[in-house]
Symmetry: D2
Subunit: 461 residues, 4 copies
């Protein structure tokens, strides 16, 4: 039964299915966070005198039972259930009585689902943060290992100047560090508790919003009750734009791998256990993996646009359209997490073919170096350029290893400054550990202060 | 003549037009920044001994002349010019001789245009930052002025609970502060000098990249030469996602204004001088302004997609496709700046119709308050809810002013905590002044150390 | 086991899951179509002498068994299965022997999955076609019923000129007819058989592609083998743009319903059984349905962009990236079908509040009519306009019913020409029946010529 | 002065600029079509007795003068002008008196600008249609010329099976023919006159909408007055989705050209006069052209999204937001036209390196052919596949020319069926000529029936 139904009211089942079908699958994944939010809420209600200490304990026992059932796959939303919030309230009321009727005091499903999504997002951003640091470390190690291995550098898909495997690898290291920087901002904007904003206009109660925020491990309260609702769509869109920066990095990595593993380039090989075959052509060994990494940024971009489109041109206050932003948000977070892990596997199984790359450093690629040799002898650059342009057929060959070391300015092939990245990664890992630690501690505390009950239920929260 | 042309080479003029047409208009706007970059480059070349002190002075004189001509509208790119970089080099070589042939030493148009765009973006982000603080202040003042003016609050476009004009205004204050927070991150990621990365692979010279970065007022060097090029598209996309958050805020504001100024709602009026009429219907006075504010987030979203699409699935290194990211970037920055200013005008000319809003607080909007009264008397929430649901026809009227003050939890209508915003705005203005000050000082210094020449040219840089 | 695996080859299970996870769910829905395609293929292989008549019969028996199992939910893809094509081939080989090893002759999974998707799309486009005609008929009936009921017409969200409920309803009738016109084009472009194009380069066999096309009910063969693969992404994108036109119509309808059912407008009411309540506010009755209809065009737009993004900047030939276009395609087809049905329910439960609309025809809305009265007396339009503009405070009231009948030019409120739509709908229903009939006949024939086996299996195809 | 201004009304000039700035540039390009629409309107007003024959002649004289001035670049919109419609009415009134005040009778700027845009779009779609047929003919000729030139075929960016230059070229021929098919549908949906729908609700006059439609060369009237306005955004979005299909074809062509002209592949060369150089690297010869062709589909996709976003979630009737759809529409039409022309130049200057491609047909590419040889000897496909998979190191070499002729099924390398395309192109050219002829005849007739006046003005319409 819906929370708002009168006894005599019915609803077309096709309509009901249209309104909730895909949403229940998502709500299932929110169960854990909804329980967290409800525990925090009931603790706060006790603090301000709306439920008794005893009721609080009863409610928490019930909520922990739900959590335990959920972990065993026995708390399943089905067609007819309106949403996770309703199912939880109904379960409590049926099994634990009165207190079930009280847990919704001072909140609305509007702030409740938003709280769930913020917690879901927070946890996933922390996972992404961690995996991203791993991936960055892998690229760092890769570029360290092949720091001075010569490799042609391309512009316009044509050979341009000598480069190195180290430069190529380090380009992703630095790029992903930028993405990480943005990730932290998205994390901070998400790290605000909307709980207590109710339907978007607060409630005439002494709700202690700072207390629930702290219990749930949020850094701040999102103050304005109306803004809490109005931020739906906006904060999500920014999170997806953030994930997109990571996936853009991975897209470029995958695109390079696919080009550089063609038989024609043959600069890298990928371990056989990552390749797949063809149903018709026996000779094939394809790096499908990289193709499926390459495509994902476009999925998340499409999801971003869904969120922007859905929430655009809508007036203030909750509009149910935003229910449809849950899927693009949650899907994108999971997808990005997977992609980072897969990219990390790929970089570990990618093997430079050093000889092939050296062979590909054909004479004309040194033309600019020849120009700059003349410049070194005092000739104006443009003159030297025109002279070399006329003499391209001459043999301009240089020594590859020496050549790449000559570019020893900051960020040149001879001076990749990898140590700088190492220092940042080290610092960022500490920062991450601190952030993750705070969140884990809050949630642990939220659950363990009720240790008594959990023992009774024999569940491990 | 193109920098790379041999004497005998020609190019189809239709093709030439296709390749540069729209781009020259954009390059025109980059003239100033290209001059800055060239001055920094020539100073650095002098520092590392590639040009003499005298050549440096000659080059700077020439570059300042270009700046002066540009400001008078007399340095105009025309069909046949390849780009601003070429035009400047050619101008210098023709009028100032040898040194013109040297200024390109150690750079490529690839890092040159990227430097221009970073400077253009930096300056515009700073302008946006400033105007955004103004707009936030206006919303703050608006919500302060009408802090306790009752107004219906809506969900699903239906009356939900009593709200206030103060809460509505403050929702934008807090929302824009979040957008500002993100803006600063985008600013920092943009605030890195790519100069010296050349074509994307550095150069075998002692380029002092930290020196040019400092001269141009950049906070950091973007280290990896290849990443400099690979970041094209990525950093821009993040900047546009950031602008989008601001325009999403403005979109909601405009959407609300359009709904609340309908004759049917009539909660606000807009000063007559902001309204436009109809060519056929004499009675009309439309807030077209708000419609044109509402549409802009969609322009920037489309521009975002262009940038993501263009740079997706492309291998590492410069690809000319990215030329087409200049327009969506530059257009979006200008558009956002305009929108913030216009929104600021609109909020100043928006007049709450307090009586209308009070009349609109019809009894059923107090239903939740009636429920919570019963809760206050000890009844479980869900029971109270069902009781009130049965009695909706009874007169539930409350006193509007009193009611909104009852929600005195943090972020409720009775406790908007406007002071917190005020404190942040104050702090952010200081932060902005410092940031803008540093940039202005750097550019001023870049130009004034050559005061001698500027006097000769009678120009004011 | 994968079709292409050597015995000793293994694959990381996380990678395997990344590559197929979401895809298996989609493949499950393609089972039916994959069986169709395989039956057609085996018949053709018999025709050109590659399998014997007996082998053909065995294979078809096996394929029909798969179909029967699938319908009972007993042919389920699981983690470890690579795709539906592999599972079917393996099943046949294990249970029916040799012929299982032959059914892949002359095809690749590349053309196989494309054939499946074309059939899936064709069937869904036909369903959409049918439901769309129903919805158009409903809007026609609605506008016929309320043809001359006066209603304010709006521009810029402000009252503009008198309109009618009939004009409002008929605007959707005509709009959806345009969408239907486009739908037929998308259908025709999809209605081409790619079977026999193999991996994208054909095969050195006498494949009779026209025969398989006919067996599967395709109107044409998609000739060029490479284009078959290159069209992936392209044809899908056009189908989604087509679905978008339908959802844009529905978006406007839903947006209007939400505005016109606000308490402030109150021009329409929606039957109670379509409304939903609030968990906190007892008085609420929201048309959530319309909000969830409103949002869907944005989902499909995002899906469109995923498809465009994924397939952009990719070279010719199959690239596995396109696997990720299956979900946005299939989801969009289902979503659109649902939305059309829901919109049809909504229009039937939408009740004009005729009195409210008449009251809303306040005097100033007749200003243009007053102007044109003066024009009728010989005054130039712009003069009359200025005169009325000065006299807006005078009472300009006209009779609403008479007024709307005065606009009797084609497409005016007095001459909606509803009969024209009726004639088109009638004609289109015949066209649809013919098209659906052809497809049904082909599939029925594909399955019943093997009636003998179906009887043995006691299945109803 | 604005048409709707009272004498005492002023408007902030920054606001005015915000509202019209970019729009005036677009309106300038609409001048011609606005004159056409006004001539048709005034003829119709004479027909229904609102202006006299003499007034009609005066008005047309004035309108033709505007056309003549416009062609000489002397009818320029400037800041302060509201739009082209206003400027034309004001010009007529000032120079030709009374009749200027009458030409707006029975229309609004809402239907006027829509008429202009439909005419602009129609003319550009016809241009695109023509150029598209040229491009298709070029691809046809290219594939005819190299019909049996062997070339490796790729999947997953790895060599897959032997293909041919003919198959590659023909894939674009067939793809563009599909795009053409869609183009005609978009053309038909655009080919409807909205003139007379006024502000979106018609007018109480005997407007003869079928007469103005015929005068302007429209195939049909868009009947429902409200739908005329509601279709803004929708029809445009479909047109852009159509242009996108063309640009997707061109994107793939350009992507292939860029891959196949790398030094590593070297399958094609591009004539030197289409290549551009580098400012720093003397050896470079890049096919920038193809990069700038590759990027354009993303511009149009972004524009598509702008249109969908702007018009989404908006209620029925004109909303000024749609002003911002003019730019993405007009820009996309011009861009597509340019791209088709440039692609046509590129295909003519693309030279297959037949020897390189033959060398690239390394033994393993024939693996599938070896499998199918065994199949020809009676072995089941999957068995043959496994046998060849074990023997990949054996020399599987086949004769390239013979091999590609063996795939003689419809659409295989040995049977490209180019004649079918030729027949369609021939038919489509006739169809185009007829369509273009009708439009030209209508516009010529619209202008020449007033030959008397044109002679006086000595202008050539």
């Amino acid at each position: 039964m819906k929370l708002w139904q009168k006894n005599n009211q019915t609803m077309d089942s096709f309509i009901e299915s249209f309104e909730t079908k895909g949403d229940l699958v998502l709500d299932q994944q929110l169960t854990k966070y909804d329980v967290y939010g409800s525990i925090a809420q009931v603790k706060m209600l006790e603090k301000i005198g709306i439920v008794t200490k005893k009721e609080e304990e009863t409610a928490i026992t019930g909520l922990l039972e739900i959590l335990a059932l959920h972990k065993k796959g026995k708390f399943i939303l089905e067609q007819g259930d309106e949403d996770i919030h309703t199912k939880i309230e109904n379960f409590l009321t049926e099994k634990y009585g009165e207190v079930g009727k009280k847990i919704h005091t001072g909140r609305s499903r509007n702030d409740q689902v938003l709280t769930d999504l913020r917690l879901y997002t927070k946890e996933h951003l922390l996972f992404i943060w961690e995996e991203l640091l791993e991936l960055i470390s892998s690229f760092y190690a890769f570029s360290k290992q092949y720091e001075f291995v010569p490799m042609p550098g391309y512009t316009h898909m044509q050979k341009a100047m000598p480069s190195s495997v180290g430069m190529w690898g380090a380009s992703f290291t630095e790029s992903l560090l930028d993405s990480l920087y943005q990730l932290k901002t998205a994390h901070e904007l998400n790290d605000k508790s909307p709980l207590g904003s109710a339907a978007g206009y607060g409630a005439p109660l002494h709700l202690d919003r700072e207390y629930t925020a702290k219990l749930l491990g949020f850094e701040n309260v999102q103050i304005n009750s109306l803004y809490c609702q109005n931020s739906r769509g906006k904060i999500e869109s920014l999170i997806l734009a953030t994930l997109s920066t990571i996936l853009q990095d991975i897209n470029k990595f995958a695109t390079d791998v696919l080009l550089f593993t063609t038989a024609e380039f043959n600069y890298f090989t990928v371990s056989n256990d990552l390749c797949t075959g063809s149903s018709i052509m026996p000779q094939k060994g394809n790096v499908d993996l990289a193709e499926l990494l390459r495509s994902k940024v476009h999925i998340v971009t499409g999801n971003y646009l869904q969120i922007i489109g859905i929430s655009g041109n809508l007036p203030s206050g909750y509009n149910r359209d935003v229910q449809d932003t849950k899927k693009p948000l949650m899907e994108s977070l999971e997808l990005t997490l997977d992609c980072i892990r897969v990219a990390n596997i790929l970089i570990h199984k990618l093997h430079p073919q050093e000889d092939k790359m050296k062979q590909a450093l054909t004479p004309e690629i040194y033309a600019t170096h020849s120009v700059l040799q003349l410049v070194g002898q005092g000739m104006p650059f443009r003159e030297a350029y025109q002279i070399i342009k006329e003499k391209l057929d001459d043999n301009l060959t240089h020594n590859p290893e020496q050549t790449i070391k000559q570019s020893h300015h900051l960020g040149g092939t001879g001076n990749l400054s990898l140590g700088r990245y190492f220092a940042i990664v080290k610092h960022e890992k500490e920062r991450y550990n601190k952030e993750m630690g705070k969140f884990t501690a809050a949630i642990t505390s939220l659950l363990t202060c009720t240790q008594h009950e959990t023992e009774k239920l024999a569940i491990n929260c």
